[in-house]
Symmetry: C2
Subunit: 150 residues, 2 copies
DNA sequence: CGCTATTACATGCAAACGCATACAACTCTG
DNA sequence: CAGAGTTGTATGCGTTTGCATGTAATAGCG
């Protein structure tokens, strides 16, 4: 073995985390709550529902997603056309656009969110103990925050 | 709060795991080893390099990926055109197609894989301790295997 | 056996994506 | 405070994706 032992741990953990995500996501995508709206679009609504001022720049939103900036721009167009999201110019920076949920968008997000919570629990609820879930959450969060604060 | 406490744990863990995956993946996609070949295509090569008989049906391969069956069919076409993968009819089932890495494909996979291992370690290696990485790996694997054996 | 149902993969087509780039607004420097 | 560089978003365009469906082979059932 030509690789430092320390490399094995981080790589094995990433590999396992990634495969787990793929496996869970494959099942989630099949659930009925994502028939009308895609899971990527729901993720945008979800992120908007969580952001402090309940509005967010396109680029700030994009930082939390895997899709590219142009893709998000066009997805926002579609969500706006569906009446779920509204665009408004940022008063403090004329280049920027602030996105926020419409009343209908907030309603849809909550509705899908509720079903989603049930779906996740039904799918993985019995896979780990409460303590194990808590540990998984802590380690995942620690991993994420470490990267975000590089 | 109208939700059973037990639901909170599994949902919070999934949410944290998913966000961690997004954050890591965003950085990985920028790394130079995925300039020539996309990360989704690398994942196909990687899976092929790991499968027992070093060949796999399209549908078996697809079970480990997030993309749809038609998308994988066409991605395989492209990988074949690049000389990285070969298709052959399954002798035991005339409907099926067996995919395997060509020598060039195996070479490319190993080469990118080596860089990928370094990239992951550089990205997340200092985020957790060896014990924490081991725990994250175990819990992720337990989560995945639980779903796969439903 | 023969007939229907199912499984495995491929293909037509519209939607969505990413890359490169354009454009406009802000910032910074001399 | 002008002019170059940077940042935030949108758009042109070729590629990739997914859905619905087609085709061929197998399985299951009477």
């Amino acid at each position: 073995m030509h690789r430092p032992a320390s490399m094995q741990f981080s790589n094995a953990a990433w590999e396992a985390l990634f495969r787990a995500q793929v496996t869970v996501m494959r099942e989630i995508q099949k659930l009925p709550e994502f028939k009308e709206i895609g899971i990527r679009e729901y993720d945008v609504l979800f992120n908007l529902s969580r952001c402090p001022a309940s509005s967010s720049r396109l680029s700030d939103l994009n930082a939390h997603l895997l899709i590219s900036q142009p893709s998000l721009s066009r997805m926002a167009e579609r969500l706006e056309a569906k009446g779920l999201v509204s665009r408004a110019p940022d008063p403090t920076d004329q280049r920027a656009v602030l996105f926020s949920l419409t009343a209908k968008g907030a309603e849809v997000q909550k509705s899908i969110g509720r079903e989603h919570v049930k779906g996740i629990h039904a799918l993985i609820g019995s896979a780990l103990s409460a303590e194990e879930f808590a540990t998984l959450r802590e380690l995942s969060t620690k991993l994420r925050t470490h990267i975000e604060s590089r």
